[in-house]
Amino acid sequence: MALTNLLRVPGRTLGGVVALAVGVAALTLLLGVTQLFQGAVVGSLLGNVIAVQVRGVDYAAVVITTLLGAAAVADVLYLGIRERATELATLTATGWRPSSLTRLILTEALCVGLLGSALGAGIGLGVVTTLGATPNQLVVPAMLALAAGVVATMVASLLPSRAVRRLPAAIVLAEE
């Protein structure tokens, strides 16, 4: 049911996935460069010589980007809850517990979080390999970035999952 809900507005879901992927890709890149090249590397990308040096401010920017991506996913979930209010109220009327509704929303969050984080980690891994690292060396940074993306998404989705618990079923059904 969670997957069906996410596919209902695929463009919006994709937007959440991409927003999260950007942050996670950057995080993977920074972690990779930090671990493998001690924070600074010179290499070539698409025929051009590039130099990458990781500073504290870069980490701050990437963390903010990742958090914004997680917030975008939470927004996707929140909009979905608003649009499906009648359906969620109907499920409440037919006996779904608030915890079941929460689980549904968190499952949706996990799906988007995993997809966006995996995409981002994959992209980040691809960029770092062009700087001379092998994929095997990047497993740990990629997994760390993926985990960070998923955790950030799940934390951000606590707000929409709280909203679904407080859905005023009687009012929603009466307005219907």
Partner: protein, 244 residues
């Protein structure tokens, strides 16, 4: 009138425990509508819906019919008064117990309220998706769809069905938990007369076949005449309580 539907094979519908007793005592529900203004949707309503009876709640739009159904169905809580079902005061139930209570009743809505992205079969199963049951959910749902004459449409989306067929699916969904009480909010409101009659026949056959208590909100006099009892509401008050 339609014949009682046969009990589905492989399910426990044949052992439905009969209908539930519903007692309302001085039930009121007041909504805040902004600027400190209040709206009394239901005002001091009392009455008993006996087990196995079919009861109509009538009245104009905004008279409090739906609110009363929501109070009986524990979707909403009264500001005063009590709703007692089979001896249990709903006010004493916590959130989890209220959800379990709602699972023991069937709700039918005017606009069917089917989940548009799920198949007909999944819609019937929807109320029990989060729960472990002692039966095969899919088999139960298919049996119920057979009962309401839609066994061949299980894989369709609701949007591919007519209004009457969608309401039949909604009734099958209401039955999936073997309810002792069915609450129907204007179940024929979005249907033409002939289809509406079929839906009422189906609902009444549940009482005749299984002794389920039915409370339905309607302003269709033809439906009211077929009920055991009629409670007429006006501006939240009960102005008439009669046996047609």
């Amino acid at each position: 009138m339609a014949q009682p539907p046969p009990a589905p094979t492989g399910s426990n519908l044949e052992s439905l425990p009969g209908g539930a007793d519903v007692e309302l005592a001085h039930v009121s529900r007041i909504y805040q509508v902004g600027d400190g203004t209040t709206l009394t949707a239901v005002d001091d309503i009392s009455g008993i819906f006996a087990a196995g009876s079919v009861n109509a709640i009538t009245g104009a739009s905004g008279s409090g019919k739906s609110t009363l159904l929501h109070l009986i169905g524990a979707i909403d809580r009264p500001d005063s008064g009590t709703v007692v079902v089979d001896g249990t005061d709903l006010a004493g139930l916590g959130r989890r117990a209220l959800a379990d209570y709602r699972r023991s009743i069937g709700f039918v809505f005017q606009r069917f309220n089917l989940l548009p992205t799920l198949t007909v079969l999944a819609n019937v199963i929807a109320p029990v998706i989060p729960y472990r049951t002692g039966y095969d959910k899919k088999r139960r749902a298919l049996d119920l769809l057979e009962q309401v004459g839609l066994g061949q449409r299980a894989r369709d989306l609701p949007s591919h069905l007519s209004g009457g067929q969608q309401q039949r699916v909604a009734i099958a969904r209401a039955l999936v938990n073997e309810p002792r009480l069915i609450l129907a909010d204007e179940p024929t409101g979005n249907l033409d007369t002939a289809t509406g009659r079929e839906i009422v026949d189906l609902l009444l056959s549940l009482r005749d076949g299984f002794g389920v208590t039915i409370v339905l909100a309607t302003h269709d006099l033809l439906i009211t005449e077929r009920c055991d009892r009629s409670m007429r509401l006006q501006d939240g008050h009960c102005v008439d309580d009669a046996t047609p």
